[in-house]
């Protein structure tokens, strides 16, 4: 049996475990709150981008509307918490389920669209979601929802004095999203997704259920992104439509994967590790007067990447050999 393949799978898992262990130890050395903040966001976006990558990278259905699922996760959790007293942990799961269902509901008509039309539809739908929340009085409309803070509590997943619980949650999210991707990569779904991305007609002729493949990818992807949204809401403890459903979130989920290597296992993590600290640092440096500087940074990076390394930074490390026997 294909030993080399099994060895590569194992190697990926070991690298991931080592990286996770190193990441878990960083708060021991990094006490600076600003840096901790950047680390949390980096881990969160790595997880989000990894989730985005499932639908858009593996299955090839490019979405620039994932902010919708991020926002839905945040809103479901906080509405359940502030209106009905449901603990955020349950709200988180509820948000995931709501997002997955909505992703499938939207997929039903939109997965018939191909290429650019699909991308445009995702942007438009996310904008509609944003407008709906802007005008929905019960959900706080444009004012948003302030999460009542009653002191540090694991039960309510809110912490004032320390950022560490958030850090570990973001790390867990990142690890889970990575592991789900790793696991799905060598499953029927993983193969179906890549086949659908590369050539839906050929996939169909080989017995692949193209439509349901896309639905499955959308559901998994939206579920994980919504968990990230719930987390973010707890982390910032105040949400309004722009701050959890704005277009920039869709971009920030797509860009790390594109930068690192779209449709690859390590691309999103690598991309996030470079992109997020960079944008956070520029934002920190330029403050309020620097609004948009981060956008200039993304833009420049994307232009450079697409010119020099269209398959992402990861292609620097794993050049598929033309004739050899390894990947």
């Amino acid at each position: 049996m294909d030993k080399e393949f099994a060895a590569r799978r194992r190697r990926d898992l070991i690298i991931a475990a080592v990286l996770a262990a190193i990441a878990a130890a960083t708060p021991l050395f990094v006490k600076d709150v600003v840096v901790q903040n950047i680390l949390i966001l980096t881990l969160m976006y790595a997880g989000l981008s990894q989730s985005w990558n499932i639908l858009s990278g593996y299955c090839g259905q490019i979405s620039l509307g994932h902010a919708l699922y991020f926002g839905l996760g945040a809103y479901t959790t906080e509405l359940l918490f502030t209106k009905f007293g449901v603990l955020p942990w349950f709200g988180m799961l509820a948000g995931g389920v709501v997002s997955a269902l909505i992703a499938m509901g939207l997929g039903y008509p939109f997965f018939r669209l191909r290429g650019h039309y699909f991308v445009i539809a995702t942007i438009v739908i996310a904008e509609i979601g944003l407008l709906l929340f802007h005008n929905w009085e019960w959900a706080g409309a444009a004012m948003g929802i302030t999460i009542p803070i009653r002191g540090d509590s694991w039960l309510k997943f809110q912490f004032l004095r320390t950022k560490l619980p958030y850090f570990y949650f973001a790390l867990a999210l990142c690890c889970i999203a990575w592991f789900v991707t790793w696991w799905l990569e060598n499953s029927k779904w993983g193969f179906w997704w890549r086949a659908v991305k590369d050539n839906p007609d050929a996939a169909e002729s080989l017995g692949v259920d193209v439509f349901n493949s896309k639905m499955g990818a959308a559901a998994v992807s939206a579920f994980l992104v919504a968990i990230g949204g719930s987390f973010y809401a707890q982390f910032v403890s105040y949400i309004d439509p722009e701050s959890v459903m704005g277009f920039q979130f869709s971009l920030l989920m797509a860009l790390p994967a594109v930068l690192g290597g779209i449709g690859t296992l390590w691309g999103p993590v690598l991309g996030a590790a470079i992109l997020i600290p960079l944008t956070e640092l520029t934002r920190f440096k330029f403050g309020g007067s620097g609004r948009g500087v981060d956008l200039i940074v993304y833009g420049t990076l994307i232009v450079l990447i697409s010119l020099a390394l269209p398959r992402g930074l990861l292609s620097l490390f794993s050049r598929p050999k033309k004739t050899g026997a390894t990947r």
Partner: protein, 243 residues
């Protein structure tokens, strides 16, 4: 015994254009049948109707005794119809073995078994040495071979080959012919659309000639190539008189 594949009075119209009119053919188990005819004869349309790309305007298609007229392609594949594409449709960003695994997953739900099946098929089709190369790095003849390998991995009862031998060098075509014979010897029925008469005629057990959307002649390859109607369809009236 019922034939493996049967089309009954199949019509396909595209607007005003009649691509297939009243086509009734049958393919018996274990046969290699060639579907030939000049350009625009309706071969590809018929082929796509059989593969399930689209349903016919009229008529019915039976596979293994079951009416599959309106069944989508993916389900037909599960029933045992495998196909290749005239314009190759490899999964370009995937390795050769991964391409074949997609096919193998139809009958093997466990990944390990699907992988084993894929390796076996690569061995059978002579692609084993290229297993870990990206499909985009294959040369055209290898891509054709990959199309066949992928379809074989679905363990079809009927393999539909759409011009797999066209555009190959004579040596490549001969290896292709050998592969088709090997496939039939493995118990798989083959229906092949082909252009290159001199390659396909010695290979097939039976030839069906389509012209202007209709079945023109059907029979042993030797009889078919001598048939005045076939010569006329390919070369025009003048030559038919000479024959």
């Amino acid at each position: 015994m019922t034939p493996l594949l049967e089309t009954r009075g199949v019509w396909q119209r595209f607007g005003g254009l009649v691509a297939n009119s009243d086509v009734s053919i049958s393919v018996g188990r274990g046969e290699i049948v060639g579907l030939i005819g000049p350009n625009g004869a309706g071969k590809s349309t018929l082929f796509n109707l059989i593969a399930g790309v689209l349903p016919p305007t009229q008529g019915s298609i039976l596979f293994d005794g079951e009416d599959v007229t309106r069944m989508p392609a993916a389900e037909r594949c599960q029933r045992g119809v495998g196909r290749t594409f005239q314009v190759v449709k490899s999964f370009e960003t995937m390795t050769v073995i991964d391409n074949v695994i997609v096919g193998a997953l139809v009958r093997n739900t466990v990944m390990r078994e699907a992988r084993r099946k894929a390796l076996e098929v690569l061995e059978f089709t002579g692609l084993a040495a290229r297993a870990h190369v990206l499909a985009s790095d294959l040369v055209p003849a290898e891509k054709r071979r990959l199309e066949v390998a992928r379809a074989l991995a679905t363990e079809p009862k009927l393999l539909l080959l759409d011009e797999v031998l066209t555009g190959l060098t004579p040596t490549e075509a001969q290896t292709g012919v050998a592969l088709v014979r090997k496939v039939r010897d493995a118990g798989i029925t083959v229906l092949m659309v082909e252009h290159v008469m001199e390659i396909v005629m010695p290979l097939v057990d039976r030839a069906i000639v389509l012209d202007l959307g209709k079945v023109l002649v059907e029979g042993k390859p030797n009889d078919v190539v001598r048939d005045p109607k076939v010569i006329k369809a390919y070369l025009g009236d003048r030559h038919a008189v000479g024959a």
